[in-house]
């Protein structure tokens, strides 16, 4: 009797301990959001979002950073989503689960997912800029420096590599939810494998591709390390007009304002405002991805 009572107490304590850990995490998240929202909400105005920085970045808005972030994720998605989707199609539709090559590809995808983002930055610098870019300059520009320096194209492609695994994993999950019967029915009606994939499997997993894209965009919008030396700039007076221009990004703007600027206190509202914009952006994207994924999972369990 006493023993079971002791056990009960122990059980309650342990359950309480695990519960409080979970609550602690949630508390951290809530505090973070609250601090940033409270600090930044007064700064947010139409003008802040649509005007250029002024007076050596101490006044004005963050429009170029928003524009640059949008451009970055668009170019990135154009590169990452098709390749990610095709890889996912290969892994689910063509590859034999136990074939060595499929295993190697899976391992490569997971490796890509865990490589630190700064390494992507180094790779972007070493490969895209110093190898491809310089090669392009020598071939097309007659040695004139145009592509062999940081720009938005190289930054976006670097970011695309980073977000490739995100797309692959999401699309794969969605492809697996398309019932085998549908595939079998399509094949039985005389459709070829490719026709089946194109007309049956892919339309059934559009939401998965969407989820992957959204998650990739959210990741790409927030990452700074890979673009530190592949194209982002502290301040550019004009919006990027071509692939070979440098650009501003929200995340880098925050970093620069908080650590590199001479008068950190003066720009505090702008820093909070920019952080709030970035957080809101990734937040909205992530929530929509979570909702979409939740729906996919429900479909799967049905």
């Amino acid at each position: 009797m006493i023993k079971s009572f002791k056990n009960n107490i122990k059980g309650i304590l342990i359950e309480g301990l695990t519960l409080s850990s979970a609550l602690l995490i949630i508390a951290i998240i809530v505090v973070m959001i609250a601090v940033i929202v409270i600090g930044g909400k007064d700064q947010i105005s139409w003008e802040f979002l649509t005007s250029f920085p002024e007076d050596g970045m101490t006044k004005g808005g963050i429009f170029p950073a928003i524009y640059g972030t949008a451009l970055l994720v668009i170019i990135m998605s154009v590169a990452a989503v098709p390749f990610g989707t095709i890889t996912a199609i290969y892994l689910t539709e063509y590859a034999n689960e136990n074939a060595i090559i499929a295993k190697v590809i899976r391992f490569a995808v997971r490796t890509l997912a865990v490589i630190p983002s700064i390494i992507y930055g180094l790779f972007g610098l070493g490969f895209f800029i110093k190898f491809v870019g310089v090669q392009m300059d020598n071939t097309f520009m007659g040695g004139q420096l145009k592509w062999g320096q940081p720009n938005i194209l190289w930054a976006s492609l670097t970011m695309a590599l980073l977000t490739l695994p995100v797309v692959i994993v999401s699309v794969e999950e969605a492809l697996k939810t398309v019932p085998k019967d549908l595939r079998a029915a399509s094949l039985a009606l005389g459709a070829t494998k490719w026709q089946t994939i194109w007309k049956v499997v892919l339309p059934g997993s559009i939401s998965g591709i969407m989820t992957g894209t959204i998650l990739a965009v959210s990741r790409g919008a927030g990452e700074v390390a890979p673009i530190l030396f592949t194209g982002v700039a502290y301040y550019v007076a004009t919006l990027p007009a071509s692939f070979s221009d440098q650009f501003m990004v929200l995340g880098y703007h925050i970093y620069v304002m908080t650590t590199q600027s001479a008068n950190v206190d003066q720009t505090l509202p702008i820093q909070f405002g920019t952080t709030l914009v970035l957080l809101a952006l990734t937040f909205i994207l992530n929530i929509s991805a979570i909702v979409l994924r939740y729906r996919i999972r429900q479909k799967k369990s049905n």
């Binding site: 490569a108 180094l122 110093k130 490739l164 494998k193 490719w194 937040f283």
Partner: protein
């Protein structure tokens, strides 16, 4: 499928009357689609290999030139620069400027070794000569750089540059330990709660919320650490330096929590229901089952989760740049500033001259980071998974 198609075709060619069920017209579109898809799928392997090659390639010159015969007469003071960079370099030492033509009039020792270097970079990078390669003295530079790698001084920009990465490595490990000590227990306990105790309702709140944390940009976490967490922790523990490895460690722990949580939760829910039922049937209570049955059964998975968390912290750049103070100190005191490997790359890469020793050393640090996370991932992938399967399936 193509195999089948081919087989079908063959059988119609060979045998006259019989109809193979698998017979299907050979279609170019299908064949092409499969080939293209296959080709693209190999891309991810290619990328990993390329990252491997290119990150290492840029760090390689340190070792390469270290072996090359250094000319004795080229004193450490003489710097030979050539190409466009000369205009910018304002080193006080004697400078010899080489035009592009000099390159071909090779006769001396210096020129030979020089050529080697140029070859290497021109076959890979460019024939553009806009980088500084300090011939002669450069080898001494590289040699001393190589020697100084294992010292504790990280003074890359000075008259006598030293590239001691020991302090950086210690700083990185210090931060990693702090953040894992903070993140792992919390994340694992929280995962245990959601997997074993939580009601369905609770689960549906906790899991997406923590997933949201995974989507927080690291700059935002870094900003939070810099602005709020640092002051808060300072007022709590009363230490001197506001930004230190403790603050950085906690902030990176916040970034690592969702990874550890998600993988641990997956591992816990992957434990077969029979384990749970058997334990309960034997009279164990819910918490005993959770702690003594489910948790041990999932240890390999939890181990993998912690490994991946370590990988995340190890390579984290933005939080390290913003919240650790960035001073390369050796001490083990958690309330001192530190500088991590990743932060060093992030802070200094933008300012170095391409092809410089400093540049190569930064890439060397990148290679270290790459190897480390690669190994962590490989362990998590192969060793742990095998063990988990064995344990759960009882093979």
């Amino acid at each position: 499928m193509t195999k089948k198609t081919k087989k079908g075709k063959k059988s119609t060619e060979n045998s006259s009357g019989l109809i193979d069920i698998t017979q299907r017209k050979f279609r170019w579109s299908d064949y092409l689609a499969e080939k293209i898809i296959k080709g693209v799928a190999y891309l991810s392997i290619t990328i990993v290999v390329l990252i491997f090659i290119f990150v290492f390639r840029e760090s390689f010159p340190i070792f390469k030139t270290g072996k090359a015969p250094a000319k004795t007469e080229a004193s450490a003071e003489v710097q030979e620069t050539y190409g466009e960079v000369t205009d910018q370099s304002n080193a006080p030492e004697v400078q010899e400027t080489y035009g592009e033509v000099t390159d071909q009039s090779a006769d001396s020792n210096v020129q030979e070794t020089y050529g080697e270097v140029t070859d290497k970079s021109s076959q890979s990078a460019d024939s553009d000569k806009s980088y500084t390669v300090s011939a002669g003295s450069g080898f001494d530079d590289n040699r001393s750089a190589l020697k100084s790698l294992l010292t504790k001084d990280w003074v890359p920009v000075s008259e006598n540059p030293r590239y001691g990465i020991i302090a950086l490595i210690i700083g990185t490990f210090k931060i990693t330990v702090i953040s894992i000590l903070f993140a792992a227990p919390i994340a694992i306990l929280a995962a245990l709660y959601t997997a074993s105790f939580a009601s369905r309702r609770m689960k549906e709140i906790i899991k997406p919320t923590i997933e949201l944390l995974a989507g927080f940009p690291s700059v935002v976490i870094g900003f939070f650490a810099l602005m709020v967490l640092a002051s808060f922790l300072q007022s709590m523990f009363h230490y001197d330096t506001r930004l230190n490895s403790f603050v950085g460690g906690i902030a990176m722990g916040i970034a690592a929590i969702p990874i550890i949580f998600t993988i641990t939760e997956d591992a816990l829910t992957a434990v077969p229901k029979t384990f749970n039922e058997a334990s309960l049937a034997l009279g164990a209570s819910k918490w005993q089952t959770a702690f003594f049955v489910i948790l041990p059964a999932a240890t390999p998975g939890i181990f993998a989760a912690v490994l991946l968390g370590i990988g995340r912290v190890f390579g984290e750049t933005m939080i390290a740049l913003m919240a650790t103070g960035n001073a390369a100190l050796m001490g083990l005191n958690p309330f001192e500033s530190v500088r991590t490997l990743a932060a060093t790359i992030g802070a200094e890469m933008a300012e170095v001259v391409f092809g410089d020793t400093h540049y190569n050393v930064l890439f060397l640090i990148g290679s270290l980071l790459f190897i480390f996370t690669f190994i962590l991932n490989a362990i998590a992938e192969f060793y742990v998974k095998g063990k988990l399967m064995k344990r759960i399936q009882g093979k």
